[in-house]
């Protein structure tokens, strides 16, 4: 569970600037005995692109379906554009939706799929046709209208699903894992396109995903969820740089997790070594976890001395000597496994740039000094059983 201190930090970020377009208040969802969503509160402002991110079973899709009215919540309220929509059926809400399966009607042409919702909205045939053409151009498939869905590629089908969802200019666009059924390359390409489209239309968008890269690259704000609760809400950089909880730290990006004992304020002991850490006000002696990302570990080469404090070590207190046990070349960087007597049994994973490795001529079995910047060393409560 998050601490009070870290939670309060986000409280401000959780509230978007200006009037909220979508406001979710104390939302609960139970399936029989199982509670899928616990006390979810969240505001989203107009034009924002928000991602619900979490592992499968965390409740993100359940939350999306509650917003759509497809599976109504057990408790709590939802307000959209100042109107209480808590118990409205989907047809009386204002949203467009795209599913992972695309859910294109297989027996209707692309045109008919897109115009399905426009047909009895009081538009003339010509107006409908014009709108369909406009939408097809918008998603970059202007001459595919006469084809059937099965004749298009997965990526093209997904764009048609998107066109259909925005055909009636809904106030809210819901995307339920829209890209996960696609090939990796197509996925990366479509990320960009969807984001572009959303920016162009300025439509408030919620996307559910379990892919952190997708969330980090597309969202204005990310809502990280786990076990039916919101772990953290924040911008992609916030979420990555300042994870509020151990779960967020662990789920997004790589993270070294080290057993540690809290010292005084801003102090933590890992193995036999004391470190300065960023934040984390724990009673001295309590069991905690210290976490640092592999790319935040700074190598100082074999020449440096942890006690002698050479010039390039900015925080001598956070520097110590380690041995490189293994090195793995991962294309754009090297990943090293480090051990150190000072840390006891713990192993550290560190990512070193190719440049640094070449410059310091790092190799396996070499002893080097590394430094962990105090503001990059995060401290979290240790969960029971670890």
């Amino acid at each position: 569970m998050p601490t009070e201190a870290t939670r309060e930090l986000d409280a401000d970020e959780a509230q978007p600037q200006g009037e909220a377009y979508l406001r979710i208040d104390s939302l609960w969802k139970a399936f029989g005995e199982f509670i899928a969503l616990r006390d979810i509160s969240l505001s989203i402002s107009e034009g924002e692109f928000v991602c619900f991110l979490g592992p499968s079973g965390c409740g993100k899709t359940t939350l999306l379906r509650a917003i759509a009215g497809l599976d109504i919540q057990s408790r709590g309220s939802i307000e959209q554009a100042g109107k209480d929509i808590s118990n409205l059926p989907p047809a009386e809400r204002d949203f467009g939706i795209v599913f992972q399966s695309y859910a294109l009607f297989p027996n209707l042409t692309i045109e008919k799929n897109i115009s399905f919702g426009l047909e009895n909205a009081g538009l003339s045939k010509a107006a409908i046709s014009a709108r369909v053409t406009e939408l097809l151009e918008l998603v970059g498939l202007p001459d595919q209208g006469k084809k059937y869905p099965a004749q298009l590629s997965g990526g093209q089908q997904q764009r048609i699903a998107l066109a259909r969802a925005i055909a009636m200019s809904p106030g809210l666009l819901l995307l339920d894992e829209p890209l996960s059924a696609l090939d990796a390359k197509v996925r990366v390409h479509l990320r960009h396109e969807v984001k572009e489209l959303q920016r162009k239309l300025g439509i408030t968008t919620i996307m559910v995903t379990h892919d952190q890269e997708e969330a980090l690259s597309m969202a204005d704000r990310i809502v990280v969820m786990n076990h039916g609760v919101i772990e953290q809400i924040g911008t992609p950089t916030d979420i990555y740089r300042e994870p509020a909880t151990l779960f967020v730290a662990d789920f997004i990006g790589e993270m070294n997790k080290l057993m540690a004992i809290a010292g005084g304020p801003g102090m933590v002991t890992i193995g036999q070594k004391d470190f300065n850490s960023g934040g984390g006000d724990f009673p001295p002696g309590s069991e905690v976890i210290a976490a640092v990302r592999p790319e935040d570990i700074i190598p100082h080469g074999p020449g440096a001395r942890s006690d002698g404090a050479p010039d390039d070590i900015t925080e001598p207190g956070n520097a110590f000597e380690t041995t490189i046990k293994e090195m793995e070349f991962l294309g754009s960087f090297w990943r090293a496994r480090l051990v150190s007597a000072a840390l006891g049994d713990a192993e550290l994973i560190a990512d070193f740039s190719i440049n640094a490795v070449r410059r310091m001529q790092l190799s396996v079995n070499m002893d080097i000094v590394i430094e962990i910047p105090s503001n990059r060393l995060k401290v979290f409560t240790r969960p029971a059983g670890e």
């Binding site: 509160s41 009215g69 408790r75 009386e92 467009g96």
Partner: protein, 671 residues
């Protein structure tokens, strides 16, 4: 944001979904179709069960008399009817048991009674609710009524209804009835073992060999589905009966009885077993066979360790389906059973022969038991079979093996000869003037109008029944399946509907038909008007074959993307637009399958409708039964073959229409 999250739902009022127009309409549909099933299934079954557990008995202790002297003077002595009977033993105990329509005259209690005598009688009930009849007037109550001798003879007592197991006690203490259970189980088990073995070998040969004419064999194996189950009985009579072409083959045994029933059962259940086992063999994974070969397992070992375990659910399922078909079948044992009693025939004999409806209901309950168990086991097994299907399975492709292929071809030819032979004999019998004396060809046996059974009109009625059943049945079944699959929440209603939709499969046709008599023939039932009409035949046939149709529809619907409804409602489109524009066109192949299934079964069914047809609504399948019963065996065979040709034609039309529609509306399937 809260610091600690509570562990359970807050104690507020739950959010209740405001039902949209779609929700209300869909729930309405579910309720209407559920109501249809309740009226056409649950209520009749309830009526039948209550019949089975109710007995009717005259209760003499209800009645008291005073008798005057010759001059009409009463001396005030009150005589109890029960006490009088005890003295005189005028009405023996076993005459006290009766049916709901039983009436008891009271004059035997007075040995001196003469309707000309001037003696007057006073009669009263001992309690307020005692009812007796004076002529046709209903009288009740404890007031004395004075009548003369002539009127007294017209007084009858009505029976008292009581509930209990006494009908069952009677049943189980009547050896001739009880014997049928043993017979039915024996015949069903033997037929099951033989049919499943034969069908397995046939399916195995078709899927694992490279022999020629596979398509022809497959077609022939399916042919028995197109005829009533009693048709093989007629053919067997021609082949092995007293004047049979091959009667020496029986070596002195009679075909009338167990031999005939088992042989005929093999014929008409073969396609059912064949379909199920073929499916089971088709899903087996070729990679397992490759592994077996690489491990140098012998073909024999591979067969027992790979083939049989892979097909085991199919085999079990086929066994129960065949068992169920045989034990509930009525037509075949009626035609060829001779003196060998079976449960389904007992129901018919009790109801039609002896007008003992209560006992008919009791036999029905007995017959429900094995059918229900077989049904329940089959459902469980079917579920497991689905789990075996793996998306990554590799389809098995047989390699040519001359010796093995030749054995398979010989075997399949023998089975095909048996099936074609049975049909051929029927057709032959229909065209012969007078077997075995005048073998010249003639069409006189097709002159149905001069025979008992309903004539050509019956044939017309059958086609009408088939078309009406296919039309209305498909609509009801498909809409019902759609609603139950797509309605949001409303768990109780959907659960009830699912149960009702699965139930008909467990109800033998005879039982359903009898239940319909009890329910619809009740003069107090407002639906009584449909009794004896085509409508009740259509209804009972739809209900009888509801489950398989429902499952076909549900399977097709499940293959559709579950989010279509969500998308449609987000686009503010009503569900019926989605239903007509997308669901129905996409499911059209399944819809046509349901229609042809209902048509073929309506043409061949005997069991459910045998109690319900009237002279205006005689059916071809019933005509076969009745003509055979009346000794017109050749015309019966002729009519049976008419059903076969009609169904075969229907299937061909179905195939053509399916192809045509597929081409026109399913262009999207082509890449």
């Amino acid at each position: 944001m809260s610091v600690t999250t509570p562990d359970s739902l807050p104690n507020e009022r739950p959010v209740k979904l405001k039902l949209g127009r779609d929700d209300l309409m869909m729930r309405g549909f579910i309720l209407v179709i559920a109501l249809y099933l309740i009226i056409t299934l649950a209520f009749p079954l309830y009526a039948m069960l209550s019949k089975a557990f109710s007995t009717f008995q005259f209760d003499l202790s209800q009645i008291e008399f005073q008798v005057s002297d010759e001059s009409g003077k009463f001396d005030g002595t009150i005589l109890s009817a029960a006490a009088l009977n005890e003295q005189l033993n005028a009405i023996p105990e076993d005459e006290m048991a009766t049916s709901s329509d039983g009436r008891l005259s009271l004059t035997p209690l007075f040995p001196d009674f003469s309707f000309r005598s001037p003696v007057l009688y006073k009669i009263r009930g001992t309690t307020e609710d005692v009812v007796y009849l004076i002529g046709s007037d209903r009288v009740s109550g404890t007031d004395w009524r004075e009548v003369d001798s002539n009127t007294f003879r017209r007084i009858v007592l009505r029976p008292v209804q009581s509930f209990g197991l006494s009908n069952f006690t009677t049943y189980f203490s009547t050896p001739s009835l009880f014997r049928s259970i043993e017979n039915s189980l024996f015949i069903s088990i033997v037929s099951t073992i033989v049919t499943v073995s034969l069908a397995f070998a046939f399916a195995y040969a078709l899927s694992r060999s490279c022999m020629r004419l596979k398509g022809v064999f497959r077609l022939i194996a399916m042919a028995p589905i197109l005829v009533p189950s009693l048709l093989p009985g007629i053919a067997l009579v021609y082949l092995f009966g007293i004047q049979g072409m091959l009667k020496e083959g029986m070596m002195g045994e009679s075909i009338y009885g167990p031999y005939g029933i088992v042989l005929g059962s093999i014929f008409f259940t073969f396609p059912h077993a064949f379909i199920i086992i073929t499916t089971a063999l088709a899903i087996s994974d070729a990679r397992l066979y490759e592994a077996a070969v690489s491990l140098r397992a012998s073909p024999w070992k591979t067969f027992w360790t790979v083939t049989i375990p892979g097909a085991r659910y199919g085999l079990i399922s086929a066994a129960f389906v065949v068992f169920n078909l045989v034990i509930t079948d009525f037509g075949l044992p009626k035609v060829i059973g001779g003196q060998y009693n079976m449960l389904a025939v007992d129901i018919y004999k009790q109801v039609i022969g002896q007008q003992n409806f209560e006992m008919g209901a009791v036999v029905s309950v007995v017959l429900l038991m094995p059918a229900f168990i077989a049904f329940a086991v089959d459902r469980q097994v079917q579920k497991k079979q689905v789990a075996l299907l793996s998306a990554r399975s590799v389809v098995f492709e047989p390699n040519p093996d001359r010796k093995f292929d030749r054995i398979c071809f010989t075997y399949c030819s023998l089975v095909a000869i048996f099936i074609v032979g049975i049909l051929g004999v029927c057709q032959f019998a229909a065209l012969i003037k007078f077997w075995p004396y005048d073998l010249s060809l003639s069409l006189k046996n097709y002159n149905f109008d001069v025979m008992d059974g309903g004539g050509w009109e019956a044939y017309g009625n059958s086609i009408k029944l088939g078309l009406l059943t296919a039309f209305f049945g498909t609509i009801v079944v498909f809409i019902g399946a759609y609603m139950v699959d797509k309605t949001r929440s409303f768990r109780a209603g959907r659960g009830l509907f699912q149960f009702l939709a699965m139930l008909p499969m467990a109800i033998p046709g005879m039982v359903l038909g009898l239940a319909y008599i009890f329910f619809f023939n009740d003069p107090n039932n407002p639906l009584n008007a449909i009794y004896g009409t085509m409508a009740i035949l259509v209804i009972v046939t739809i209900t009888h074959f509801y489950t398989v149709s429902h499952l076909t529809a549900v399977t097709a619907l499940k293959q559709m993307d579950g989010e279509f409804e969500s998308v449609a409602s987000s686009l503010k489109q009503p569900f019926y637009k989605l239903f007509t524009r997308v669901t129905v066109p996409v499911c059209m192949p399944a819809i046509l399958d349901i229609a042809i299934y209902l048509f073929v079964n309506a043409m061949t069914t005997v069991s459910a409708v045998v109690f319900l047809y009237s002279t205006d609504t005689a059916l071809a399948s019933i005509a076969v039964l009745n003509m055979d019963d009346a000794g017109d065996v050749a015309p019966a065979a002729a009519m049976g073959m008419m059903i076969f040709y009609t169904n075969a034609a229907a299937r061909i039309i179905h195939l053509a229409v399916s192809k045509g529609i597929l081409k026109r509306t399913q262009a999207w399937r082509l890449r």
